[in-house]
């Protein structure tokens, strides 16, 4: 590689990395400003702990509070709910796409359900499933299901007519038409629904863990809040946010992989 090319690719890398560096830098500056404001007494340290204390509390929540084990529990609940919303959501979407009358009869309800605060239904789920992981999983399932159904319908219905006609011109069977054309064409849109659904599911899983005080990261937040262990509480909240960010990045990668070329 020539020097000019090497310099050019290094320059490209620098330009690509610039937004991430700027974002991270701004965050660090923000933490420093908060640290200073707390130390000079402009922010009450009993309400907002020092960022340095929060950073120090990470070791404690890992060693003493078993945050990794709790994360595994939350993750397994979110995963089970995620698999359920994917399977049920896609199948329901396909059903409603194929049967237009059913679609017209139910689509508005499903859209309404997507925007409804389903978290308020948790007492009902407690009665049905008891104070168990299944209450959490089912609440996550109900919250995450509508976007998957709606986006599956949108993706299938949005398949360009000409692609369907190409399939017809090659004499594809209805099953081939679906698996070789409709589904691949709809997949990027379906995955947007899955991603939205998984985000709603994760929010609800942690939220219900918090509300019913049953295991996982949500319960740890309740415990720490009740003990008024502010640095550990904030460290746990940061951990949950970090998990959400990682989750978002991973799903974004998968989405890009499903649509190989922009």
């Amino acid at each position: 590689m020539s020097d000019a090319a090497a310099t050019g690719s290094a320059g490209d890398l620098g330009r690509r990395a610039m937004p991430a560096v700027l974002g991270l830098g701004s965050f660090i500056v923000f933490l420093l400003v908060v640290e200073i404001l707390i130390r000079v007494g402009l922010i009450n340290r009993y309400i907002v702990p020092l960022p340095s204390q929060i950073a120090g509390a990470f070791e404690r929540i890992i060693v003493e509070e078993d945050i990794i084990g709790r994360f595994q529990l939350t993750f397994s609940e979110a995963l089970r709910a995620g698999v359920m919303i994917t399977v049920v959501g896609i199948l329901a979407g396909i059903f409603l796409y194929r049967f237009d009358l059913w679609r017209r009869a139910t689509e508005t309800w499903i859209a309404a359900l997507a925007s409804a605060p389903t978290v308020l239904m948790y007492p009902l789920f407690l009665v049905i499933f008891g104070r168990s992981a299944w209450t959490i999983i089912m609440m996550g399932f109900v919250a995450g299901l509508p976007p998957v159904i709606l986006k599956t319908i949108e993706g299938l219905a949005g398949t360009r007519r000409v692609l369907i006609n190409v399939g017809r011109s090659f004499n594809l069977t209805p099953t081939q038409q679906f698996t070789k054309i409709l589904l691949p064409a709809a997949l990027p849109t379906i995955f947007v629904g899955i991603r939205l659904g998984l985000i709603f599911t994760l929010i609800n899983v942690v939220g219900i863990e918090y509300l019913i005080n049953f295991g996982g990261l949500g319960q740890l937040i309740t415990d720490l809040a009740e003990r008024y262990d502010q640095p550990a509480l904030y460290a746990t909240i940061c951990f949950v946010i970090a998990v959400s960010v990682c989750f978002f990045i991973i799903t974004e990668w998968i989405e890009r992989w499903l649509t190989p070329v922009e």
Binding site: V162, L163, N165, V166, S169, F170, P184, V261, E262
Partner: protein
């Protein structure tokens, strides 16, 4: 059956046309009443022949394309391929569409190999055959690219290669270069001519471009504006092999002028109709 249709059908039978469209009528129900899109159209395409169907916008060309391709039913008359009646998509007819029709989630080679995959052919064999057709349309080296990485003309060549890979008896193309610029259109026309001559592929192209029709076809069928009827069939007696260079010849110009004389009146009717429709729609 009208006299012209009977004559064409008789001629078709005599010359053993591979594709016969016999007295086809297609009507659509619209809010304004019944609209006749295709009115008693008959034509015959001989083995290895390149035929162009030309007409003004809205004359029913695409409806005719869909009828021949078996994508539209509920019409009167009949379409046959080598004597076999077309009642739906026919394995002997390969279609190239006006709109961009490559599968964006498949690479070029997977797009071209698609009909072979459907037929159950093994991966290595279908890739070998797909490479042959990719080479035929001049896209060697682009096998692993996705359609989004190609130009409009290259994507249309992928669509043509994919259709050719199914080895149809008849290649049916609906304004395949409509979305391309004039230069690409001429060069792609050359490529299509070259392929047609190499494979002796019976081809029927639907177009509204006179230059394209004369450049490519052995015969040009001129359609009237709504309802779409056969106005005239013009034999293009230009030497083969042809290329886009022929557009500068005197004989080419004469054919273009002759077809335009037929088409002009129809295009004017179409324009007036459109203006009246828009004036009526104005609040």
């Amino acid at each position: 059956m009208p006299a012209t249709s009977r004559a064409i059908a008789r001629d078709s039978a005599a010359s053993a046309d591979v594709l016969v469209v016999d007295d086809v009528v297609k009507r659509f129900n619209t809010p304004e009443g019944q609209l006749t899109a295709v009115d008693h159209v008959s034509l015959g395409v001989r083995q290895g022949e390149f035929m162009a169907v030309i007409g003004p916008s809205g004359c029913g060309k695409s409806t005719l394309f869909n009828i021949i391709g078996g994508l539209v039913d509920g019409y009167d008359g009949r379409v046959t391929v080598a004597g076999d009646r077309v009642t739906g998509p026919h394995p002997s007819i390969g279609m190239v569409f006006q709109e961009e029709s490559t599968f964006p989630w498949r690479t070029v080679i997977d797009n071209v190999a698609f009909p072979l995959e459907i037929s159950g052919m093994g991966k290595s064999e279908r890739y070998d055959r797909a490479r042959h057709f990719i080479s035929l349309v001049g896209l060697n080296g682009f096998e692993k690219r996705y359609p989004a990485e190609l130009s409009g003309g290259m994507r249309q060549r992928v669509a043509i290669a994919r259709t050719l890979a199914s080895e149809p008896k008849i290649l049916l193309m609906d304004e395949p270069f409509a979305s391309l610029d004039e230069q690409t259109r001429l060069l792609l026309g050359d490529k299509v001519l070259q392929i047609q001559q190499e494979l002796q592929q019976t081809t029927l192209i639907i177009t509204h471009n006179i230059t394209e029709a004369v450049q490519l076809a052995d015969r040009v069928l001129v359609m009237t504006y709504r309802p779409g009827k056969v106005k005239r069939i013009v034999d293009i007696d230009l030497p083969r092999p042809r290329s886009s260079e022929i557009v500068s010849s005197e004989a080419f110009g004469r054919y273009v002028a002759q077809i335009w004389a037929d088409l002009r009146e129809e295009a004017s009717r179409g324009m007036k109709d459109d203006e009246q429709l828009r004036a009526g729609a104005k609040p």
